[in-house]
């Protein structure tokens, strides 16, 4: 699998993402600077990592979406390429017009770093190996997913809700259950797919628990899904 990680000046999960991709595929990811205008040729996956791309002083992700590289990422997605945005990366993909909805300040107004449980309810290249509830961490201040009710209905109808916050047994969280849905996301949505299901945005960090030495490796299922997709394709 040939993967690239986009690096903004304030990205801080770029290395973590590259390590997780490298460990899953055995192939080093290319690091692509945001001022570049082209992606390396022959990519299977572009990952937009977490962090604070431009400090998040304005609306999160808004400035990053204007970086030269994002035009190339949009083009890559339009051509059916796989794009994964995690945390700030999801925020950037929303601002870049690749995914619907918005990510607002957490319901409790505080930054939150803790493990969450997720249930996968969609079929996609990113999730087909995620055949059980997974536990991976969040680390964000602005992860409360919101959208118009019709847009949410459409996401549900089209099976594009990749992940929902859930109980350890996989029962989806009630929207108001702050213990399980800590940022207060509408319908407990933790990750969303694009219409063509080739772009995934998610707040929790699969790259942070993709190594058993860190106390969990459920995040690997996401990377393994992409990898096996490549192998069968």
């Amino acid at each position: 699998m040939r993967a690239a990680v986009v690096v903004f000046p304030g990205s801080n999960c770029d290395r973590d993402m590259a390590v997780a991709l490298g460990a899953a595929s055995g192939q080093a990811a290319s690091m692509v600077w945001h001022k570049d205008s082209a992606l390396p040729p022959g990519l299977d996956l572009v990952a937009v990592p977490g962090g604070f791309s431009f400090g998040d002083y304005l609306r999160v992700g808004a400035i990053a979406a204007q970086s030269p590289i994002m035009a190339a990422v949009r083009e890559f997605a339009r051509a059916g390429g796989l794009v994964l945005g995690v945390c700030n990366g999801w925020q950037v993909l929303i601002e870049a017009g690749l995914l619907p909805g918005a990510l607002m300040r957490n319901a409790g107004l505080s930054f939150l770093c803790r493990d969450v449980h997720l249930v996968c309810q969609a079929v996609s290249a990113f999730t087909h190996r995620v055949d059980r509830p997974i536990r991976i961490p969040i680390g964000h201040h602005d992860g409360c997913f919101v959208a118009e009710p019709e847009a949410l209905d459409r996401l549900e109808d089209e099976g594009r809700i990749a992940f929902r916050y859930a109980a350890p047994d996989g029962t989806p969280a009630a929207e108001g259950d702050r213990a399980l849905n800590p940022n207060g996301s509408m319908r407990a949505i933790a990750g969303v797919l694009s219409e063509n299901r080739r772009v995934l945005g998610m707040m929790p960090h699969p790259e942070r628990l993709a190594d058993p030495a860190l106390g969990g490796a459920d995040g690997r299922l996401v990377f393994k899904s992409v990898l096996s997709q490549m192998e069968t394709a």
Binding site: P9, N12, G55, S110, R208
Partner: protein, 741 residues
């Protein structure tokens, strides 16, 4: 030199008088010293420079004499105190190249009390800069926080603001904040403490220092623009607060973690390029301290042209530029032939950079601005002749004797302790810190010490920060010793080999003999313990004048400690398994002097603190690591505040299991369960190894006693019990209740 060299009467600058010097925090003696040194009246800018260099914060004038007595050497030490941070050897990387751990703790107490969010945020920024200035990538942050009474009207806002500020800066910068400590005590009502520690990794052969070298080399300014924020901050931090503390808000700086992140990456790229000769961050007293430091260490003079300094606002005077504490700025001496490469790196990261001066052969600090010489001072003398005081000190008044024990059963006492702001869960705090970024956090906050993997290896650093101010107040030498011993214990309890410490010494006004007595006593204790436990002090910071309206904080010498684990398999968890037996290692007499039990339940600070037997500490600490290596224990936890009862409850909560702790036949229940005798650990073991375990412990010359069993759904202390679910809920709710969350 005569008056014409420096135009002391520029229209914008007030004439310098002794009264103006006093307003800058300089005593009459110190002002006279300046007059004697330069043989004329200083200019306004020069007065500012002297006040910046000679205040307590920058000159350590009251503490230096005592800091020199601390053990700072050892085979593991690469650079001890005197650099931006301490540097120790931690073994090779995956390719066999020697690695170094670079770390330091520093206070930002005064600014945090005035403006909690920005004060704490810039404290984090400053300490991160100290670490990456040396060429190390920060890999972990910790903090030690002290606030006033939870009921005090300011406590809630200070707690929330400080925690958000630390998170806001560290999270955006991208360093995991993995540990620390938090306490409440009315002695901090008028002065909170915010001690921030940063830990970085570098290759041992690629450490950068501040000493300039070469004559005529360009002095380069890098980073954020200079503004008027923080002018006089270091001087502010060198005085007591009165009722006007709120009016000092303009002396607090504003942090920009996004710029700091870019500064980090740019500095590391620049260092790797070979362009950097020396580098110094602009911290307290900004441009003044950093330029003098680089020149002084290199035995060179420095010439600065302030017209070249990137400024945030128009019309800044030389005085303001020299004293500004605007954040996220660096000063470096670069190889002139590498200027183009350097510029490309700064441009890549969109950082301001400017050549603002050069090194000169003469011992001179020459500052020009707007066509005039604003300062012309002997550089080496600026730091070299800073005043140093041997302040009088007296031992503290002995604490009142230990009175009757509270009339309470142990389970009820535990329930109250665990629901208190001081002993409740810290989760509310550390969930606001990104403790997972960099994907190397092996043991997360909430355990004895945090464990962070050394990236790309199977080895790890263990990190902790500790002190028990109650003990320090009652008997400073014992308190100083205990702070080091507890840090040592926390490292051993996670399976790490302790290596070195950084100290952050927070005290009141050193001009008072009893405060100086606390300082001297604590230093003596720290020195003795660091020597006995082979943990040299490699960096540190002193924060004095933590007083408001004449009321001092408790003496609070925070010890930040670093240990190493040679294999991730050496990590000892804190959570035992179901059915494990808990075994107490170390001698128990049931000492309740200055205990958490007396203070939390009845507000009594009575009796002597428990003595520290450094030899015994070492013996039992080494034993715990050996027991893990020999496969005999499943978990360990150190005993400190709240003794056996609190330690057992914390282990049970970590496992989500109940525990039954046995009573002691000959000891009174409160003494047995809550005594704070030092040098003790609770370890957990499976039944089948118990006999061998006990023999092994006795063989090592350590007292051992079976203490209880893990399991069930209650926490039992002898005949008394509490439902686990109630304890867990009380533990979880303690801090959110204080914070109003």
């Amino acid at each position: 030199m005569n008056d014409r060299d420096v135009d002391a009467t520029l229209p914008s600058e007030p004439p310098v008088t002794q009264a103006l010097a006093a307003a800058h925090g300089l005593t009459a003696d110190e002002y006279q010293r300046i007059l004697d040194l330069i043989g004329r009246t200083p200019s306004f800018t020069e007065l500012g420079i002297f006040s910046a260099m000679w205040n307590e914060h920058c000159s350590y004038k009251s503490s230096k004499r005592w800091l020199r007595t601390l053990p700072t050497e050892g085979p593991q030490v690469i650079h001890g105190p005197g650099e931006n941070a301490g540097v120790i050897a931690i073994g090779p990387d995956a390719e066999g190249r020697p690695l170094a751990c670079v770390f330091k703790m520093e206070s930002h107490n005064h600014p945090s009390f005035i403006e909690p969010y920005q004060g704490a945020a810039t404290g984090v920024g400053g300490i991160l800069r100290d670490v990456f200035t040396m060429g190390a990538r920060p890999v972990a942050a910790l903090n030690a926080l002290s606030f006033g009474d939870p009921e005090h009207p300011r406590t809630r806002a200070l707690l929330s603001g400080v925690v958000q500020g630390i998170g806001g800066y560290g999270n955006a910068f991208g360093v995991p904040t993995v540990g620390g400590e938090l306490r409440f005590h009315p002695a901090y009502n008028g002065n909170c403490l915010v001690n921030a520690m940063a830990v970085g990794l570098a290759h041992a052969d690629a450490i950068f220092l501040s000493a300039a070298s070469g004559i005529g080399m360009p002095v380069v300014y890098l980073g954020a623009k200079t503004g008027r924020d923080g002018v006089g901050g270091a001087t502010m931090a060198s005085a007591e607060f009165g009722e006007d503390a709120e009016e000092k808000r303009p002396t607090v700086q504003v942090g920009d973690p996004f710029t700091e992140k870019r500064l980090l990456e740019a500095c590391l790229e620049l260092m790797a390029s070979g362009a950097v000769i020396s580098i110094q961050d602009m911290g307290a007293a900004g441009l003044t301290c950093s330029a003098v430091e680089m020149g002084d260490k290199g035995g060179l003079g420095i010439e600065l042209d302030l017209d070249a300094v990137p400024c945030r606002e128009d019309g800044m005077s030389a005085y303001e530029m020299m004293l500004s504490e605007s954040q996220e700025r660096m000063l470096m001496v670069l190889r002139p032939e590498r200027e183009a490469e350097a510029k490309a790196i700064f441009d890549k990261w969109d950082l301001d950079f400017a050549i603002v001066g050069r090194t000169i052969a003469e011992d001179r600090f020459l500052v020009r601005h707007a066509g005039a010489v604003r300062a012309d001072l002997p550089l080496a003398a600026l730091s070299g002749t800073a005043p140093e005081y041997d302040r009088p000190f007296m031992p503290p008044f002995p604490p009142p004797p230990l009175g009757d024990l509270p009339d309470i059963d142990p389970a009820t006492a535990l329930g109250r302790l665990i629901a208190s702001p001081n002993y409740g869960s810290r989760r509310w705090v550390w969930e606001q810190y990104d403790h997972m970024v960099m994907a190397d956090t092996v043991v997360r906050p909430g355990s004895d010490a945090a464990v962070v993997r050394i990236h790309g290896t199977n080895r790890a650093l263990a990190l902790t920060a500790d002190v028990t101010p109650r003990y320090c107040a009652a008997e400073p030498e014992t308190g100083g010793m205990q702070a080091v011993a507890e840090a040592y214990r926390n490292l051993c309890a996670t399976g790490a080999r302790p290596l070195a410490v950084t100290d952050n010494l927070n005290f009141g006004n050193p001009e008072k003999a009893e405060i100086m007595g606390q300082f001297v006593g604590c230093i003596r204790g720290i020195g003795a313990a660091c020597a006995a436990l082979d943990m040299p002090v490699v960096s540190g910071n002193v924060s004095l004048y933590n007083e408001t309206d004449g009321k001092a904080i408790l003496p609070t010498p925070t010890i930040g400690a670093v240990g190493v684990l040679d294999d991730l398999a050496d990590v000892i968890p804190m959570a035992p398994g179901d059915g494990d037996t808990l075994v107490l290692l170390g001698q128990t007499e049931g000492l309740l002097g200055q205990s958490a039990l007396l203070w939390e339940l009845e507000g009594r600070a009575e009796g002597d603190p428990p003595p520290v037997d450094l030899e015994a500490e070492r013996r039992v600490g080494e034993l715990v690591r050996a027991l893990k290596a020999e496969g005999m224990i499943t978990a360990a936890h150190d005993l400190s505040d709240g003794g056996l009862a609190l330690a057992a409850a914390e282990m049970a909560l970590a496992a989500g299991l109940g525990v039954a702790v046995e009573a002691h036949g000959e000891m009174r229940p409160l003494e047995w369960f809550f005594g704070e005798d030092q040098g003790r650990y609770l370890v957990a073991a499976r039944d089948e190894v118990l006999t061998a375990l006990v023999a092994r412990v006795l063989d090592a010359g350590v007292a051992v006693r079976r203490a209880g069993r893990v399991g069930g759904s209650a926490i039992r202390l002898g005949a008394f019990e509490l439902p686990l679910a109630d304890v867990a809920a009380a533990h979880a709710d303690a801090l959110p209740a204080v914070a109003g969350a």
